[in-house]
Symmetry: C2
């Protein structure tokens, strides 16, 4: 299994480790999966090619990296103003998400299984304040997937770099801004040493899903018992990755702020402009890409119902808890 | 495996079905788990006794049912103003939760493994409006676990009934009010036919966790490979139960409102009075129960850090999405 991340990111790579461990234990060591970091044998952004071609049997990645092959990939991972983490899981495990990705993934000879979710991400690191939509203009920013394409509508110049390549680019000034995930990973990657403003929320990654990719021919050749073990172990690795992020982010956030990082919310004007750009891009893409339209329409209908319910119990509970905490 | 729920509640009982299916498939049918609804062989509220005594090997339940044996049980399941769903998973998978429940559960000869979470629940069904804290006084309410004890401070008379026994009690007037889970389950149980007001949020169940209970002696006797399969399958069943609730609740909420159910938020005054009662009860209990104090203190420290971070990316993302949806 090759990953799109370095081993130092023990949240993302941890999903690979957990998965391989349970598969091995469940089979008394008969089914061994060797895990490789980005670049060890396959570059971080070439996981899909390698799995599709059978160069390697499995990969762990964020499918929006492959929006250049087809933007439909981004919808299964994270897309601007898409589903939050639990909604993403609900869409895959109990909605139409898995069926849609099974159909689409088969065109790339890939079986795609949920294996990790980062939670809502941060909006990234900037050397200047982003007060209005025009402040994105001309910025060279490392930003993943469909979000980069969306922000070109506001004049941003997106760069897609694997995790391990971002800090050097930021330090050398090859890029002006960068987003990765959230406090815990971003602290590890060291962005706070070379940039000052840390924005939220990452409106393009409300609940970024990682997938286990398996060469479909190889997956179909597995014994049924091994297929069941793969699915169950991936399920555990999925929920555990989110748990690790949720447990590790608060401490990292405190350390970053103590080290001088300035937290900034994107203004309402910025959020509205981005939503408008996103809606335009998705409409344009839906007009020319039937797969994209099918998946996006399904996801939007699901999302709108989800948030109808979300605001009742879940959001009002969190609201009270957040207000109570800040009052001590 | 015996459950605390009827089979008709396919969300909760569905976790048992998923778990047994994956364990069977992963072992080529060699490890078969037969699932029983509440009352088929063990009453719904006697799962812990039955597992502890070895009457049955496994159970699926909500541990707060057993607060009468020790209120520490409630903390592992759902407790007023406790953790939300993802935070609960984070505490168990990546914080101290699993270690704490392993130590505590051993006193009851039980291995406890996460297997389902309902999400934030609703505050229940009432025949009259609850406008101020005094409106709880004298109400006979079916309410689970530690929440019932908390509300006795406000004069409520709590009743603990298994899911299948609530509707008849409500219909006969043996109880005045009842809470179960949320729209999907509550619609199935028919409460909307005999009560009018449906309150939110369920401040006593921010993320109610279900557990797979296994007789500890039996668990330790399992081959290591079967233990790994049990843990992985329970992990998948855990995330899938939440996914099912999240996918099914929106439609049920719409149908309930269309059928005349009146949604009502608990007022700030009610929430504050309940928080005060909860803090008092937890302080009193901590003073006399060392296990409770140890677990509660650990959870509160975790919770406060979690919500510090939650309000940044996650909550601000959801806030924007909810506001955007209501504006169309």
């Amino acid at each position: 299994m090759t990953a799109s991340w370095p081993k130092s990111l023990d949240t993302l790579f941890g999903a690979c480790t957990t998965f391989a461990k349970y598969v091995s234990e469940a089979t008394d060591g008969k089914f061994q999966i060797q895990t490789f970091a980005a670049g060890e044998i396959i570059p971080g952004l070439q996981v899909l090619d390698a799995v599709q071609n059978g160069t390697i049997e499995m990969g762990h990645t964020a499918l929006y990296y492959f929006f250049g092959k087809d933007p439909t990939w981004a919808l299964f991972c994270a897309t601007p103003f898409g589903l939050n983490t639990r909604q993403q899981n609900a869409w895959f495990y109990a909605g139409d998400g898995q069926k849609l990705i099974d159909d689409f993934g088969a065109k790339f000879n890939s079986k795609c299984i949920l294996m990790g979710n980062t939670g809502a991400q941060m909006g990234g690191w900037f050397n200047k304040e982003i007060k209005e939509p025009a402040d994105f203009r001309g910025l060279k920013m490392r930003i993943s997937g469909w979000a980069g394409k969306t922000l070109t509508k506001l004049g941003l110049v997106p760069q897609q770099l694997a995790g391990g390549d971002i800090y050097p680019a930021l330090e050398k000034g090859t890029i002006d801004a960068a987003e990765w995930v959230g406090p815990y990973d971003d602290e590890k990657l060291g962005f706070y040493k070379v940039t000052k403003y840390y924005y939220y929320p990452g409106w393009w990654e409300g609940g970024t899903t990682n997938h286990l990719l398996i060469n479909l021919t190889k997956f179909n050749e597995l014994p049924k018992s091994y297929q069941a073990i793969v699915l169950a172990a991936a399920g555990l690795a999925n929920i555990e990755e989110t748990a690790r992020y949720d447990a590790l982010n608060p401490g990292a956030l405190k350390r970053l702020v103590a080290a001088g990082t300035q937290l900034r919310p994107f203004s309402q004007a910025v959020m509205e402009a981005c939503l408008k750009a996103s809606n335009e891009l998705n409409a344009e893409t839906s007009a020319v890409n039937a797969d994209f339209k099918k998946v996006w329409d399904n996801m939007v209908a699901f999302r709108n119902d989800e948030y109808l319910w979300w605001q009742v119990a879940e959001y009002s509970y969190d609201s009270f808890m957040i207000r109570s905490r800040t009052r001590g």
